[in-house]
């Protein structure tokens, strides 16, 4: 699924290149021009060779390789790549004062970055370098655009006005466009990677490593003292993992979700023993209601890990599902250590850096994306007062079918 945009984008590149070639060939048939043919070949050659570099995005390293390649092939006075207003790479005449890492010096660069349109600067005045001894005479500056935003520009300098032939201008322009597409692909790559990471995090949220480790340890402890229970727990654990792995689809009935939670709690209870009491208050009318999968278990796990486990003495988790006509109110509360308002904010903030709140943030974001921005989790907590997490799900939501086993 996530690779689809990527594939599309690559297709777009192929079509764009092929289209470009076709266009050039078509024009050639009308006015056969040595120059155009040359321009086409040069552009394709350069595109072919710069592609692997810019595919990794725009940075000093990839910029230097690209600039060198262009310089070697076209032999202008100088070539530069500017990104975010900083010179990323510069090769050729004037490299004494146009240094990589420095702010872009010329007026024309700033103009291109601002407008996002290519500019042909025929004389030093138009280039606008503030070093009076600058050897650069004329320049073609083309923007590099990713998703409609100008992120940098490619500058090709020549030594005189006559050097700015239409062919050279066209080559520069085409190069700029192709580089832009490559950078767009790089951006997509990064997004795909982020998505995959988020997916991984969600998968990890399904069965947390802590939980697996703790459960196996609990079972190990029981093996000597109570082999019978150890066996039961192991079977339960196997069944739990099977359920976790086989889950597909976005929705399940609340009954299914509760059974999953119940199984999870059976394992947690084996570990906590009398320290953990679980109370259910479920209206039977709401059991067949469709809910997004895995909205409940992360809340219960959070209540145990962050509420009960840090508390001295026994704790209690209360799970309720209340029939409210068109809606179902679901709450998970604990009488654990509670959270400060600051902690509550952090827990609901989907900052992947803080693992602690990932489960809740994930659930909240999913609820919002399905049912609307006002339908996320509501968390009520104070230090020492326990925590209550609540959310409301409409029984009917256009497009969501009743879940059934």
């Amino acid at each position: 699924m996530e690779t689809l945009p990527l594939v599309l984008a690559e297709l777009m590149v192929v079509v764009a290149v092929a289209g470009g070639v076709a266009l050039l060939l078509a024009r050639r048939s009308r006015t056969v021009s040595e120059g155009r043919e040359q321009a086409m070949l040069e552009t394709l050659y350069l595109a072919n060779h710069t592609l692997p570099y810019l595919r990794h995005g725009l940075n000093p390293h990839t910029a230097e390789r690209t600039v060198k390649l262009v310089y070697d092939y076209l032999r202008p006075s100088a070539v530069a790549l500017v990104g975010n207003g900083v010179i990323l790479a510069f090769v050729g005449a004037g490299s004494d004062h146009h240094r990589p890492g420095a702010q872009a010096l010329t007026q024309v660069t700033r103009e291109v970055l601002r407008t996002g349109r290519p500019i042909v600067a025929p004389n030093p005045g138009a280039i606008g370098c503030n070093d009076p001894g600058c050897p650069l005479q004329s320049a073609i500056v083309v923007p590099l655009r990713v998703r409609g935003r100008t992120v940098g520009c490619l500058k090709i300098y020549y030594d005189g006005n006559q050097a700015l032939t239409p062919t050279r201008v066209r080559i520069a322009d085409s190069l700029g466009r192709l580089m832009s597409i490559q950078m767009e692909l790089a951006e997509l790559d990064r997004q795909t990677e982020r998505l995959a990471r988020a997916e991984l995090a969600a998968l990890q949220a399904q069965i947390s490593p802590h939980f697996i480790y703790n459960t196996l340890n609990t079972i190990a402890a029981f093996i000597r003292t109570n082999p019978e229970q150890a066996h039961e727990l192991l079977v339960e654990f196997a069944d739990f993992t099977r359920r976790a792995f086989k889950r597909r689809g976005e929705f399940a009935s609340l009954a299914d979700e509760l059974e999953y939670v119940h199984q999870y709690l059976t394992l947690e209870k084996a570990r906590y023993g009398d320290r953990l009491e679980v109370v259910y208050r479920i209206d039977p009318e709401v059991l067949p209601v469709s809910v997004p999968v895995l909205v409940l278990q992360p809340l219960v796990e959070n209540a145990i890990r962050h509420g009960i486990s840090r508390k001295v003495g026994p704790g209690r988790v209360v799970i309720t599902a209340e029939d409210r006509g068109n809606e179902v109110l679901i709450t998970v509360s604990d009488n654990g250590v509670g959270m400060t308002p600051e902690q509550v904010r952090q827990v609901l903030n989907s900052d992947p850096g803080r693992r602690s709140g990932l489960g809740l943030a994930n659930v909240s974001e999913r609820l919002k994306s399905i049912y609307g921005p006002e339908r996320g989790l509501e968390v009520q907590s104070a230090p020492g007062q326990g925590t209550q997490v609540r959310f409301v799900i409409p029984k009917f939501h256009a497009g969501v079918a009743v879940a059934r086993r």
Partner: protein, 602 residues
């Protein structure tokens, strides 16, 4: 007043006791469940028998509990179409509507309207009719409450409406609908126990049903078995088919059929001639044993089709068919019925539930006709004062020793309260839910928090209760089942075509559905409101075809709605939803095929 007056303490106790018990059942069944090793979700699932009882409990309202028996007594066997229609309507709902809607994921008719046509606007239109039908259906419940309270305490009619209406409203608003499935089940068994005990108890004392039927279905008019004193309020009409000997207990002035005014001193014995006499003042009369009961329908016609129920009308056949259509087709559109069906754990349980529901409803309707017949036989004096609707509460006093009468009466009072409470609560939840969910949360304040929505539900419940009480006070003069029949007619005209075509015809478009629903619903509502306002004026128009069509609009309003839907849909062919085949698939593919392990999202 027929009974000796005074407050029936035991009955009053059970009357409100059953409300307290219902709330208790709700609280007990939703009590804290501590986790044990049993398969807890399965244990929390509602069994088909329990669920069927709940469905029947919510469905059988005051109209069924009190109204059918009373109407059978008043109008004879024509009235049996009401229970037949109510039961058959349920069958229709379960066979053709409930399963597709359940598969579709629609809990209510507005859900269906929105999902089938992808139109939140149409949803709002449908919500308006849900509110109309819901409020309309609460009226007969209020009427029953006012009447029962009046019999038990002697308080005026409106006091009962206000007291009972407030109790039920507050219970709903304060979250008293906890464990609603168990509460409705409890109330169903209270109702059926009350009716069964009353029916069997009366028969045990006074003889089997057959003997009563023989007595009342012959050509003879019902007669007073022994001398009986009745107090007729001024302006009461006393219609007699043969002369009756009466003794005036106070000085009495009566306008005799010829227009002559008869004055009788206290203690004077005189004859009321055949025809309609009118009480002018001092209506306390003692009828001699064996004298005919005034205003009682004649024996022959009472036990035959087109008897007293339709005899005043010029077109009894159209009236009867229209009534049958309304009761059979209106059930599916009642706002509180569909939801209860979702508590089933799966399709198979749903089918079992269906069969049990039909059995339970059939069992329930066994008794009202028997009780109506025995009422004609045992308490014919109810005819004289036009108080046949009090039958259920009057019948106990006609049998057996005092303690037995009081016991039966107390049980009936409990059953009556269960009837008002179960149906009114279900309707109120549906109406308040529609107000809070569709009007408040989806239209006025889309970003309201869940607490605000909760508050909105409570305010809506109180609002709905106030409207029901205010309107309920106004409807004392209408028979309970007439009111119910009207609610069914509006429901049938607005929702039946929408459900039928929406579920079974691919070609239905949004403009077609909207036009048909609006035109059908509005024409039925207008006809019924016109009848309600014109009926008391006694225009003498009841012989006309127009009058019959206004009083029972289902027979023309439903075809008009169908025609509009089909016609407009044909004209707007290009507006058929693009994913219509997917929607049809979702509604009609049986669950067992397992096509939907992945849930479809658009």
């Amino acid at each position: 007043m027929l009974t000796s007056g005074g407050i029936h303490w035991l009955s009053l106790l059970t009357f409100f006791g059953v409300a307290v018990a219902a709330v208790g059942v709700g609280l007990y069944t939703t009590r804290v469940v501590r986790t044990t090793s049993d398969y807890f979700v399965a244990s929390r699932m509602v069994s088909p028998l329990l669920n069927a009882s709940a469905i029947a409990g919510e469905y059988l309202s005051a109209a069924s509990f009190m109204g059918v028996a009373a109407m059978v007594m008043a109008f004879g066997y024509d009235v049996l179409w009401y229970p037949v229609g109510y039961a058959a309507g349920y069958l229709f709902l379960l066979l053709f509507v409930a399963a597709p809607l359940r598969r579709f994921g629609a809990y209510t008719i507005p859900d269906f309207a929105e999902g089938r046509f992808d139109s939140p606007t149409f949803r709002r239109v449908v919500v308006i009719f849900v509110l109309v039908v819901g409020i309309f259906y609460m009226l007969p419940q209020m009427k029953g409450a006012g009447l029962t309270f009046n019999v038990l305490t002697g308080a005026p009619y409106w006091v009962g409406v206000v007291v009972v209406g407030s109790v039920i409203t507050l219970n709903v608003a304060l979250g008293g609908m906890k464990g609603i499935t168990y509460v409705q089940t409890f109330q169903f068994w209270v109702k059926i126990f009350a009716l069964t005990l009353l029916g069997l108890g009366v028969m045990a004392v006074t003889g089997w049903y057959g003997s009563h039927f023989e007595r009342v279905s012959g050509p003879d008019t019902p007669r007073f078995a022994e001398a009986r004193a009745l107090a007729h309020p001024p302006r009461t009409t006393l219609k007699l088919t043969e002369p009756a000997r009466v003794r005036a207990l106070d000085p009495v002035v009566i306008e005799l059929p010829g227009g002559e005014v008869r004055r009788a001193a206290a203690g004077e014995l005189f004859t009321l001639p055949t025809g309609s006499s009118r009480v002018v003042s001092g209506g306390r009369l003692e009828y001699e044993a064996g004298s005919p009961v005034p205003n009682a329908p004649e024996g022959d016609s009472w036990a035959k089709p087109f008897g007293p129920f339709t005899s005043g009308l010029g077109y009894p056949l159209i009236f009867t068919y229209s009534l049958m259509i309304a009761t059979v087709l209106g059930t599916a559109g009642l706002p509180h019925i569909l939801v209860r069906f979702y508590t089933n754990r799966d399709g198979e349980a749903a089918r079992q539930t269906t069969i049990i529901v039909i059995g339970l409803i059939a069992l329930f309707y066994l008794f009202p006709p028997l009780i109506g017949t025995m009422g004609r036989s045992l308490v014919p004096e109810l005819y004289a004062s036009g108080e046949t609707e009090r039958l259920l509460l009057a019948l106990p006093s006609a049998v057996g020793p005092e303690w037995f009468s009081r016991l039966l009466e107390a049980v009936v009072a409990a059953g009556a309260f269960s009837a008002f409470m179960s149906t009114t609560s279900g309707l109120m939840v549906a109406v308040a839910g529609a107000l809070a969910h569709d009007v408040y949360a989806r239209t006025l304040r889309p970003r309201a928090s869940s607490r605000a929505r909760r508050l909105a539900f409570q305010v809506s419940a109180i609002l709905a209760g106030l409207v029901a009480i205010a309107a309920g006070v106004q409807v004392e003069r209408f028979a309970i089942n007439m009111l119910v029949g009207w609610a069914f007619a509006i429901s049938a005209a607005s929702f039946f075509p929408l459900l039928t075509l929406g579920i079974w015809w691919k070609g239905l478009t949004l403009p077609g559905a909207m036009a048909g629903t609006v035109i059908g619903g509005i024409s039925a509502s207008v006809a019924i409101l016109a009848t309600m306002w014109l009926a008391p004026l006694d225009l003498g128009a009841s012989e006309s075809l127009l009058w019959t069509l206004l009083a029972q609009p289902a027979i023309w309003a439903i075809p008009i709605a169908f025609g509009t839907m089909i016609g407009v849909s044909r004209l707007t062919r290009d507006r058929v939803p693009l994913d219509i085949n997917l929607k049809m698939l979702r509604m009609h593919v049986p669950e067992q095929l397992g096509l939907r392990t992945e849930y479809i999202r658009e």
